[in-house]
Amino acid sequence: MTWKGKGKTAIVGIGYSELSRRPQRSLGALSLDACRAAIDDAGLPAERVDGLATFPEAPFHGAGTQDGEQIVSVEYVMNHLPLAPDIRWYAQIETGLVASAVIEGVNALLADACEYVLVWRALHNPRGRYGAWSGNRAPGDAQFMAPYGCTSIFQWHAMAWQRYMHRYGATRDHLATFVTNSRRNANLNPNAYFYTTPMTREDYFAARWIAEPLCLFDCDIPVEGCVALILTTAERAADLRHPPAYIAGYGQNTSRRRALFHYSLDNYMESGHSLASKLWASSGLGPQTMSAAELYDGFSPSTLYWLEAAGFCGEGEAYSFIQDGRIALEGELPVNTFGGSLSEGRLHGMGHIAEAVMQVTDRAEKRQVPNASAVCAIDGSPMLRGSGLVITREP
């Protein structure tokens, strides 16, 4: 049975800060830019915003948690923006990535806890080597990894992709199609870090290894900046500046993990299904009715795993499914139409949500998929905690 909340709430404003590698201004200042831009985009007086939600987690352990510099919390935004004099509701999510903060906002609106919710995701790009391990004592589970030089998330993604290649016969050549398609889309997205930088297949193959079989361009591009959204009820949305992008359904990954040692490839279908099945059940829609798919790509293989786990193709088929233009803007299923985290920038899934909104409201300009009626945005890799949304043109 379709979810009772289907089409009852909508995203009505989007705001981007500048996205850059090493900004001159603080993350807090950039986040306030994005929040103000989202409020303006909605055409709303700031004092009407009476709900707040974010997922403030630092990009990796050790990246710092100083509020306004390395993270931007609810507390920070509450203290630095002239919103409703008495904020009625807020939530600060610890797991599930930023789509979970959007889901909380949707639930708050349905419960009449507030009228207009501001959701943001601020990402810090720490100085120095990304994800470096500098401690000499490894606590907890890390004590079984760090002494062997295996501490970084990209090493685990590299091992999962190696296993996938072995199991299904995929190669780097297949992955190159995905990565260069994302770059082509980013070249049509003025918000993208790589907006003016094209990438050929030769560029992809010439890139240095990070952890073989993953190269530099298989990893998302770390940026510093923020994207913000405004959510409200469908009734209130009708009076605002842009057409509403309705929330048709949502889902979170609640699978139980068998393997304790980080994650393996073996459970990605089952684990991803935990999220995707809720997306399709709540919205009453399915992979075959999506006009485009914005699928998390912190590392390039994750999007392929999602194509399979969410039912766009069968298990072990994604690497061939994405060939021959099928996922291009003109193709049967455009994927990561804005360039993804690989080419727009690492926003932990917020860019994916913003793009789904742009597509179903005809605001995606040169990368617009004609008549996009329903687009899903999924955060996180299928084997990790994540969450997703189905966003539609009609309620």
């Binding site: 080597r129 994800g131 470096a132 391990w133 500098s134 401690g135 000499n136 004592r137 490894a138 606590p139 907890g140 589970d141 890390a142 004590q143 079984f144 990894m145 760090a146 002494p147 062997y148 030089g149 295996c150 501490t151 970084s152 990209f154 090493q155 590299a158 091992m159 999962a160 190696q162 296993r163 072995h166 240095r208 290894w209 990070i210 952890a211 073989e212 079989p213 993953l214 993990r257 068998r258 393997a259 304790l260 040692f261 980080h262 393996s264 490839l265 073996d266």
Partner: protein, 139 residues
């Protein structure tokens, strides 16, 4: 640059001490549930499979297969800078599916490493206090 830096060492706690003490004695032990016989690694306060608390450490064969591997090119981990690039393997012990341990191997072995390849444990004495169980390829 990194020659003088020490590699990370385990911060041994009550839960993990039996694993590391056995390694000092050249034995590989894994925490096992006495109720459902599930091996939990890394060790857990309650069994991941049945949530029971009857957990003790039992010797395992030290034999396994390479579930997957990668070659690390980034000097992200203190003390490993001079060994770049180095191999990491994810070893699936023969006792239980997805019972994983990590090991590192010299990059020179790259051509011999393959998914499904057989490995066995050996013990590397780091100093008087620490021995690391590691895995090497078997013919």
């Amino acid at each position: 640059m990194s020659t003088t830096q020490e590699k990370p060492r385990p911060l041994i706690d009550d839960l993990t001490r039996p694993f590391w003490e056995a390694a000092r004695e050249q034995r590989l032990v894994i925490q096992r549930c006495q109720d459902c016989h599930y091996f939990n690694h890394p060790p857990r306060p309650v069994c991941q499979a049945c949530h029971g608390a009857a957990l003790t450490f039992e010797p395992v064969s030290g034999r396994g297969t390479i579930y997957s591997f990668s070659v690390m090119y980034q000097p992200n981990v203190t003390g490993f800078g001079d060994e770049l690039p180095y191999l990491n393997i994810l070893v699936e012990l023969e006792e239980q599916p997805q019972l994983f341990l990590v090991s590192d191997l010299p990059a020179a072995q790259r051509e011999r490493v393959r998914v499904g390849g057989k490995v066995e444990v050996y013990f590397e004495d780091v100093d008087a206090e620490l021995t690391l169980p590691k895995f090497c390829l078997v013919a």
